[in-house]
Amino acid sequence: MATADSGAKPLQIAMKMAKLAIQLDGENKHKEAYCEYLRTINFISHALLEEAGSQNDGDVVAVEVGRMLRLAEQCLERVKSFIGKRADPPDLSASVSAPFSSSAGQSEQNHTTVLTDTDANPVTAPSSDTPVDKGRKSTSPTNTGHCRMLSDGTGELSSFLPPEVFQRLQTVQSQDISKKELTPIEEASRLNQKLKANYEARLARLRPGQAYQKTSLTLSLQRQMMENLIIAKAREDALQRKMEERRLRLQEEANRRFSASGAEEQEQRILYTNVLEYEQDHDWPKLWKANMKKSPDDVTLVSGLVSYLLSRADHPVVKLLRKHQYRVYNRLYPIVSKGLLQSPPCLLTPPRSTHPTHPEKKMTRGSSIGGQSFCTASSLSPLLSHNHSTNYDDEEGEELHSQAMVDRENSFEDLEQFMTQLDWAPLHSSTEDSEVTCDPSMQPEQDEGSIQELEMRALTEHLKAVVKDIHIAIDQLLSLCLLSFECLNTANSKDLCLASIEEAFFTPLWSALVALFRRVYREREQAFETSMKLYQDVSPGDVGVPSKLFPDDSDAQQGSYPYESAVQELKLLLKDCCPQRKLECIVRTLRLICACAEDYRCLHEVDSTPKTAAIGADDLLPILSFVALRCQCPQLVSECAALEEFIHEGYLIGEEGYCLTSMQSALAYVESLQPGQLPAHKLV
């Protein structure tokens, strides 16, 4: 074992460097990762040079040298893939710094624009890029633009990529070019081509009289070429046999592991066979496993391994991840994109609301949300104005009426299409019924109501199915991951592993996913928005925060308001694309609230003993409601609903679960607020 120690040092350092690079790679910090890979290569070549200078016991280190070279090779491979990516249009550096993103975001179906960071597409109020933002390294904007491709689902037209583009991007994203080896036959035909070229050159050099040599040359060429092909064929057959044998052997191994039978096990078995096969062709799993064995409790090693694994596009785990992502996206796309393109914002609502006869109405609504560049306002207000516009129906009589007719027809078409998309046959007949009875004398409201009800039911069912799919997909991914690396099967490593898988899984999907949630929770978002507009300027006292827990008005006049830091933190929730991160954001918000409350109380009771009481739920919920009101993001409603679906069981009773539950309580309270319930401090 001493031998291993003597040579291990440079290798270990190199491994560590590579690990850092991989980690950066995993976090999508491409530029840093690129540099780190290069540094690793540099280090390896330096170390090898030095060793070559002072060679004492060559054969001992030979193993290490081989491993170092392989590591260098792998690093080089990654570096190459970066170069490849840079040449592509969705350039990361451009997308992060793009100043034109907001205007470019309008144009459609262009990779560059979709990948472009939609920061400027106003998810939060302008003040959000405060120090809080900078302080949060993990969610820093160096993430690929991909993860941001519109966190606001119902915003611009450009938001959702067609599934084929999504799939292509998936592969472009982590393309590590594994050089394809030539099969024996291919090799032989190359060889033969060379021979032929040679022969032609020699033939050209022959003088016209040497016919005999010419025939002999031709014959020998033919013989050689034939031989080459026969040998190649034999080699290929042997190889095929060997592969077949190996496959059988691995399959048996897989069978032994899953002694039970059944369709699910069958699938697992195939996947596991793929993993075993992959491991025969690649060395890195062995290397990592050996490292894990040496230091099983090393958390950075675990996360390094997982992020490395997820960066290997050809590994069965990653392939499975892609497959599931694509499947989910495919189920989301028809719904979320359709709503955007055809009758925004509501799938089947006749677009009467956007009728050009109410420009002033729209204007006032626009101004009522003040300077807030606030995403959902645009998406929700048409529907609100639709409700208002019913007052105008009488005045506009004929025109509107005929318009409604056309719209209704459209909406039936939409509905039918929608039903077929959802494979929702049972209710089809009832659709036809209503179509038959659809005549001008019918009450439009009733009609619309039933359509909307149907639509809502279909959407809710669809949402449930998608959520279930996602759970199954993640379970499968995790179990395959743990099968591939048994060393990860400890409570802690498993959690880490799951977190990484989820991050990789959700990041490109979240915006589409939340768009579907927003469809389903539209009514709740509207209720929230109404309360928010009514009460955005209330003081903490108005929502029931005890006066000792916020500063007096006189203190608060300098452009800020109580609990502002918590509000800013909460706004950042929309920027993350992975449920775990979002939960952490909610936890941070609640912690900030407690810290602020503590500070405010100390301001009030300067002399008395400050340890009289701590913040309990009786204080927390009113403050949280205040923060939610100030946050001005109705989307929070849908985000929290989605988080509830994807929070882990283990977190459910812990701090994360508590914070999410409190958040939802506060949101529900805000939604339930009625006009006149609180003293409104409206700006005139």
């Binding site: 609640l590 701590a614 309990g616 739920a617 009786d618 459910l652 701090e655 309580s665």
Partner: protein, 217 residues
């Protein structure tokens, strides 16, 4: 895999804390979590959410105590707070008849939502103010008995009865959990972790907090 096996098991229990605004539930729970050991049990969420690790008859118990808002306007969302709870501590103020009525309402709701799976503790707090008592001991205890709950008297101010209350609750929750395990069959003990917060984890042994809680076996 016998149910009584020692070591290796960690129970995780969720306990909700219910009670009207001024009954002193915050002080009660702070007393409980602050008093023992040190204040590292207090999370950054202060008294709203507290955790405590116990060692009861050789088994580790992780307690997560969820405070809930007493105000009526937040009650609509009560159910999502109680969901998956193993226990509930319902606190009233012995000098405030009204707060006892509120407790009765919560008991009804909890039983409706969670059936008999949840261990209920009804707690008359502020016994240091016994001279102003408005809820008679007999009334409270007979009510508790009638709904299958246990009744306790505490004083957060004097730190009376709190430790006993929680220890007793933990033991009852463990019994319930073990009964549930047995019902599911000892082979499938992992499945117990699926829904109701009873987790059986084989984690590394940790420094057991000074065994003050293992008073009675």
């Amino acid at each position: 895999m016998a149910a009584g096996g020692t070591g290796g098991k960690t129970y995780s229990f969720k306990v909700v804390l219910l009670g009207e605004g001024c009954v002193g539930k915050t002080s009660l729970v702070l007393r409980y979590c602050e008093n023992k050991f040190n204040d590292k049990h207090i999370t950054t969420l202060q008294a709203s959410f507290l955790t405590k690790k116990l060692n009861i008859t050789g088994k580790r118990v992780n307690l997560a105590i969820w405070d809930t808002a007493g105000q009526e306007r937040f009650h609509a969302l009560g159910p999502i707070y109680y969901r998956d709870s193993n226990g509930a501590v319902l606190v009233y103020d012995i000098t405030d008849e009204d707060s006892f009525q509120k407790v009765k309402n919560w008991v009804k709701e909890l039983r409706k939502m969670l059936g008999n799976d949840i261990c209920l503790c009804i707690v008359g707090n502020k016994i240091d103010l016994d001279k102003d008592r408005h809820v008679s001991v007999e009334d409270a205890e007979s009510y508790a008995e009638s709904v299958g709950a246990k009744h306790y008297h505490t004083s957060a101010k004097l730190n009376k009865g709190i430790e006993e209350l929680f220890l007793d609750l933990c033991k009852r929750m463990m019994e319930t959990a073990q009964a549930e395990e047995r019902l599911k069959g000892n082979g499938a003990s992992q499945s117990a972790s699926s829904r109701r917060g009873v987790q059986i984890v084989d984690d590394e042994p940790q420094a057991t907090p000074a065994g003050g809680c293992c008073s009675s076996g």
